[in-house]
């Protein structure tokens, strides 16, 4: 189940400044050197405008890779959403998420009106920041792209003018599979697809499936 069904994709369109050792962010540089990660901007260009990046989720490296592969000016204004129940467990995780990654913590379990993730994330969007989200809700271990949780729909409905950019992260599950703590240096790539928005007539299920297929498509671009 961890066999990659297709050979590693070679980048076709590489954005300017993709590999760049530009703007010293030591963590981003480390991730770039370790995974040799390549951005493949197939459906859009890395413009400096507000976006919600949504991607498949197989590894803790996903967020790091997607974040490190963004050009520095975009990266500075991009935050990821992480599950509060996971990232507040133990001092190491808390330190990583607060000090290193600055993850926006969202509630997965006891959602009340007060800690509603959609409200939290729209607040981050209203600060002008871009978001990285993993709508499957948890890391997949079977190489399948699972059904999306409805959060992305509510987010798209709350802020209909923000582009949602699908992304497929390849090979992160081999760099750091779920349950492992030591990463192995393998070459990763992130493929960005065509941005989408919620259509006015679209139902929740329709939109969630369309968004899921958009990520799936990126895998084959």
């Amino acid at each position: 189940m961890f066999i990659t069904s297709k050979p590693y994709n070679l980048p076709v369109a590489i954005a300017p400044g993709k590999l760049g050792f530009s703007r010293m962010n030591p963590l981003a540089l480390l991730v770039q050197l370790f995974t040799g990660v390549q951005a493949r901007w197939m459906g859009c260009t890395p413009e400096s405008k507000q976006r919600i990046y949504f991607a498949n989720h197989t590894s803790h490296f996903d967020f790091l890779i997607l974040w490190a592969v963004l050009p520095p000016n975009l990266r500075e204004r991009t935050t990821a959403a992480g599950a509060a129940d996971y990232w507040t467990k133990g001092p190491l995780r808390r330190w990583l998420c607060e000090k290193v990654f600055q993850v926006a913590l969202i509630e997965r379990q006891n959602v009340t009106r007060k800690n509603n993730p959609v409200t939290q994330l729209t607040a981050i969007l209203d600060q002008g920041k871009s978001l990285i989200i993993f709508p499957e809700g948890t890391r997949s271990t079977d190489d399948q792209l699972h059904d999306f949780k409805p959060g992305i729909y509510h987010l798209a409905k709350a802020r209909p003018n923000v582009d949602l950019v699908p992304a497929f992260i390849d090979n992160a599950n081999r760099v750091l599979p779920k349950g492992e703590f030591l990463p192995v240096p393998l070459i990763c790539s992130v493929t960005f697809g065509t941005p989408l928005r919620l259509e006015s007539t679209e139902h929740k299920e329709q939109f969630l499936e369309r968004a899921r297929l958009a990520v799936q498509e990126c895998a084959h671009l």
Binding site: F2, P7, Y8, L10, G36, L182, P185
Partner: protein, 318 residues
Amino acid sequence: MNLTSDPQARFIVFGMLAVLTLASLIAWVLKQRFTDEKHAEVMANLNSRINAWWVMVITFFIAIIAGRMGSIILFGLVSFLALREFITLTPTRHADHRALFWVFFVITPIHYFLLAINWVAFFLIFIPVYAYLFIPMRIVLVGDTTDFLTRTSKIQWALMICVYFVSYAPALLDVNTPNFHDGAKLLCFFVFVVQISDVLQYVFGKLCGKHKISPQVSPNKTIEGFVGGVGSSIALGAALYWMTPFNPWQAAIMAAIITLMGFCGGLVMSAIKRDRGVKDWGVLIPGHGGMMDRIDSLCFAAPIFYHLTRYFLAHYAR
């Protein structure tokens, strides 16, 4: 290699830079002559190839001039990058994860460390004996038996090709006899012959290549390119005999062995790429592809050249 005190070393370094300058000039002239769209792609590729050569040659010379340790570190990094490309293209399973960690961060560093402290006898058997037995042991402990033989063999092959065989090149630094103690020049000779043979096969192939040698494996390799490239590399090897412990005709035979092994190495590595359905190993070196695309011929030539040279020096040294 000492540039200030050694005129031969100066000749090697500045001679190589002169050759690159000439190549850049020729590429510039060609670019002026072929401006149509049909040639645009070839011209762009030629340009990025030559620019990458500048980077690679300068990096190589910096390492060589820095000394023995500089060269060992350079080849250690080359091994690491090649191994990363190889394993990326090789299907592995979750159960192989820990074994892969050992391969990247324990076995490869130990192997180069053994070279650095000049423990040659252990260096030569560490991977083929100890690492070869360790890898299946580490994988079997996890308990996943699906494709077990295939998975272990692939990791063993990756280690052999990318680390063990590559490390024979810096091992040339320590090939010494009472009459020959300039391993750095021998390494330069080897790397130059193996790489110039690749370049000349490409050039002759582009200029007059018609008959494909192995269309299924490597569609760009032609008989004309092979004959022209190998022939001229042997002549160059003979002319550079002063970098080696050999006389001119012995150097020619060695150059022939290097280029033939290099050619076969290129074919074998191409076959692996075809099998995995990709054109290049990666995108690390613009115009060339991945690190593995650049060193495929070196991997196969280095161990044979090393052992033949040592055999020769032990039995027939001048």
